[in-house]
């Protein structure tokens, strides 16, 4: 290994107001030319660690303790002027959302030039111009003056992320901090952006700290991986160690929760959710969700334990974790396709548009009784529009939607109450789809009484029944959406849809705002409900890997057209369409040898 480019020692960042820890006891080293991946779910503190590498803490938080050394320099003992020399010049930051990170009032060229002018003040303007154009070429953007004269809103998300990358690499920094730089991007764009970052870091010998919630992305990129949970690094080691022989139960559970291409088995969720700063329990923060947890775990926090090969873990039960990896999740309950051939929901020749822009160009799609059809597409493919046409939320379309053979009117309001009841829709964002001022109980009884002429007592009884069906405690009824976690809210949204006793459920990206561990639990719930209630599902998603675990058939949507439609296994193993093949190729996957249980050891 070459020289240490950055070293973090015993770092603590806390909230100014409460003194609660955002992250604590963070230790890692980053060698020149090395890629360190930091993996964690939301609120694990991974972005805080990333920004601390620039000696920065967001408003309301402060770096309370520790050392952040870049080369010989400890950033935390620097004054502001020295820090500014380092930021952008020696350590560069690639932000999560490039659209928000570029000033809408300044031309691209000016924003690029500002960095160079700041960190290479001796260079002449013409020289800087040449350097900027070179960098544009490196990130595969048109190296033209006219391109530099554009404003951020005139570029696409992928192009903006390339600009952000160019901005980071232009001053030739020694360390690059990339904070989930591909989160908002489609898989195809994501693949290109990842490749660019990797290439540039290699070409310039820069150390790369890559922060992500996506295990598959990190698996394909990082030399070493640090797994974060509740503000601590719970496990740290080489890529092989983390993905093949995890020692922390959380890492193992995360791997089991991640959907994979080659495996149609059930995903294993982790119960509960990650605690936010200020609400973390004493002892090991993962204990409430950990099956190995005992009194020791709840009383005291484990110190890092170093195994051979610099594989560090914070767990009293590191030796038992292997057992978790051996376990195979229960297979999905078989769904009897009793009524194949008879379509529950049928869409014919759907052409949908917004104003003068047509986004869906003639789509035919059937969902049979108790069947799950996945509708997969990238952003802008028209998948959400198509789903909304089905339920009558988008009424500007031609073509026909039929439910059990009966043609439906375009708008939801023009349909009969019975038709609306039998076709239910679940939204992407669980918080946005529930009225924040209405308690869960009232929301559910309201829904029951909207469709069934029952008294208050019966409606309440059904409400409790519904909560039970989605595995929520009865006391949830007294809560408001803001008091629940994202996963719980999505369960409530599912319960609300079930209240109507529907025949067909349209799920629009319902797991995309959830953490992987929670996503797995929601997908399992849907599978179980489908088996029990003979529900038909139209499962809309951009996540190709997730489809493998849930769908019977897959429809791939591209630019408003279905380019491929077939049984799930067939589409994954022998994709016919070029677009599907490209989509599959670009989706980052956990390698085939990173397999669970039987296949790995047997």
């Amino acid at each position: 290994m070459s020289a240490v480019a950055a070293a973090v020692h015993d770092l603590r960042v806390e909230l100014v107001a409460s003194g609660a820890d955002v992250v604590d006891e963070i230790n890692f080293e980053l060698a020149s030319g090395e890629v360190l991946g930091i993996v964690g779910e939301s609120a694990s503190g991974k972005t805080t660690v990333a920004q601390a590498l620039l000696g920065y803490a967001r408003r309301g938080a402060r770096i309370a303790r520790g050392q952040v050394c870049i080369g010989e320099l400890d950033l935390l003992s620097c004054n502001l002027e020295q820090l500014r020399d380092v930021r952008g010049g020696v350590v560069a930051y690639i932000p999560q959302d490039p659209v928000a990170a570029l000033s809408p009032a300044l031309r691209i060229g000016a924003q690029l030039d500002d960095v160079l002018q700041r960190h290479a003040p001796q260079t002449a303007p013409a020289e800087r111009r040449t350097r900027i154009l070179e960098t544009l070429e490196e990130v595969s953007l048109p190296a033209q003056e006219s391109f530099l004269a554009r404003y951020p809103h005139q570029l696409s998300g992928g192009q903006l992320q390339r600009i952000a990358i160019a901005m980071a690499f232009a001053p030739r920094p020694r360390v690059i901090v990339a904070d989930e730089p591909t989160t908002g991007l489609d898989v195809t764009t994501q693949a290109h952006v990842l490749e660019t970052i990797q290439q540039l870091a290699r070409a310039h010998g820069a150390a790369l700290l890559y922060v992500s919630h996506d295990l598959a992305v990190v698996a394909g990129l990082a030399d070493r991986v640090a797994v974060m949970y509740a503000g601590r690094i719970v496990e740290q080691g080489s890529r092989e160690q983390i993905f093949h022989a995890p020692r922390h139960p959380y890492t193992a559970a995360l791997l089991r929760a991640a959907p994979r291409f080659g495996d149609a088995g059930t995903l294993a969720g982790i119960p509960g959710w990650a605690p936010a700063p200020g609400l973390r329990p004493a002892g090991c923060a993962f204990a409430p969700r950990c099956r190995f947890a005992d009194e020791t775990c709840r009383a005291s926090a484990p110190a890092p334990d170093l195994a051979p090969g610099a594989h560090a873990v914070r767990c009293f039960h590191a030796s038992e974790t292997v057992a978790l990896m051996h376990e195979r999740p229960e297979p999905a309950p078989p769904v009897e396709l009793s009524s194949i051939g008879e379509a529950a929901l049928s869409m014919r020749g759907i052409v949908a548009s917004y104003g003068e822009t047509t986004v869906v160009h003639g789509v035919d799609l059937d969902v049979a009784g108790a069947e799950c059809v996945a509708l997969v597409g990238e952003s802008g493919s028209g998948k959400t529009t198509l789903a909304r046409c089905a339920v009558g939320l988008h009424s500007q379309f031609d073509g026909s939607v039929t439910l059990s053979g009966i043609a439906l009117a375009r708008g939801a309001r023009q349909r009969t109450a019975e038709q609306r009841r039998r076709l239910q829709y679940i939204f992407q964002s669980p918080y946005a789809s529930l009225n924040p001022r209405r308690s869960i109980g009232r929301a559910l009884t309201r829904q029951v009484r909207l469709y069934f002429p029952v008294g208050a007592g019966e409606a309440q009884r059904r409400t409790f029944e519904l909560l039970e069906r989605v595995s929520l405690p009865a006391a949830t009824a007294a809560r408001h959406p803001g008091e629940l976690s994202g996963g719980e809210c999505q369960r409530v949204a599912i319960a609300r849809a079930l209240a109507a006793r529907p025949a067909v459920l349209v799920c629009d990206e319902i797991t995309s705002s959830l953490d992987v561990s929670v996503q797995a639990a929601i997908v399992n719930l849907l599978q179980q409900l489908r088996a029990e209630e003979e529900l038909s599902l139209l499962f809309v998603t951009h996540n190709l890997a997730l489809v493998r675990s849930i769908a019977d058939r897959v429809a791939v949507l591209s630019a408003g057209r279905v380019v491929e439609l077939g049984p799930t296994a067939q589409v994954f193993q022998r994709p016919q369409d070029a677009y599907t093949r490209q989509l599959i190729a670009n989706t980052p996957v956990l390698e085939e040898d990173v397999q669970l249980g039987v296949r790995m050891h047997g």
Binding site: Q51, L54, Y56, R58, R59, L83, R84, D85, V86, R87, G88, G89, A92, Y93, P95, D97, A100, A101, L102, S103, P104, A105, L106, R107, D114, V115, R118, H119, Y151, H153, Q154, M167
Partner: protein, 334 residues
Amino acid sequence: MTRLLASRLAWGVFTLVLVAVIVFLATQALPGDAASAILGSSATPQRLAALRAQLHLDEPVLGQFWHWFSGLVQGHFGTSLAARRPVSDVLGTRMLNTLTLVVVSAVVGLPLALWLGVRSAVKRDRVFDHVVSVGTLTLAALPEFVVGIALILLLATQVLHLLPAVSLLQPGVPAWEQPKALVLPAATLVLAVVPYVARIVRGSMIDVLEEEYVQMARLKGLSERVVVLRYALPNAIAPAIQACALSLAYMTGGVVVVEYVFQYNGIGAALVEAVDNRDVPVVQAIVLLIGAVYVLLNILADVATVLVTPKLRTQLRRARRPAVEPSLATELPR
């Protein structure tokens, strides 16, 4: 740009016509009619009939409106009932006086408000911000006449005797050559308008300072000066423009009370007089004038907003319809 201007102008003309309709209809609510209101109960039937004919009161409502409106379009505002002279004669110099007062107040007040707003945002939650916040909050609540009379008590009568308590203008001399008479009325208007603009500017500046591109600019190692002036300020300017335009429009209403307090000879004081005398043509003319100023400021503000916002500016080149809503900021002053 021409297309934008044209559409804004069309909106302005449309609004003005509706304003005229409202003004006309309001005067129709008169119990009895204008003639008896003007002449009082002692009027002889002959004089009443003569005045009705002169005011076209014997025509149907639509006819009356048309008479009045077509006169407006040609620049005839009618005849003042009190002064028995054309309204334009009565208001000519008074308009100039009011214009002087408003311009002086704006030139002093708006830069002050912008500075206060930006500085409080940058110094957020520090002493400066708190002082400005309490100060603007207090001043924003006070009616102008309270501020005006307080200034008279402090600076002109009870405490100090620096300035005249009333701002009687010498006839025949332009207002801007009588600065002593201008100070107190202008100060009152400034105190009425600064809090509003300063608070809007502070709010929009704070929003912008919280944006990720400002954080990113800091993470690029740029100095705080560059971050604030180059990355934050240009993005906060559009709401500031709208706030300034609104505050100017608001001043045209504020002058009514301020001019009355200081007996300053402008259209505000004229409006109070005319309402007192039930001088309908003068009331109509002044109200229309104030409406026209509002419409004009609105158009200017929208055009300026487009010019300082690259996204709107570039869309304009391609799209047929302007992306701006023909309306002002959501929070409006009194």
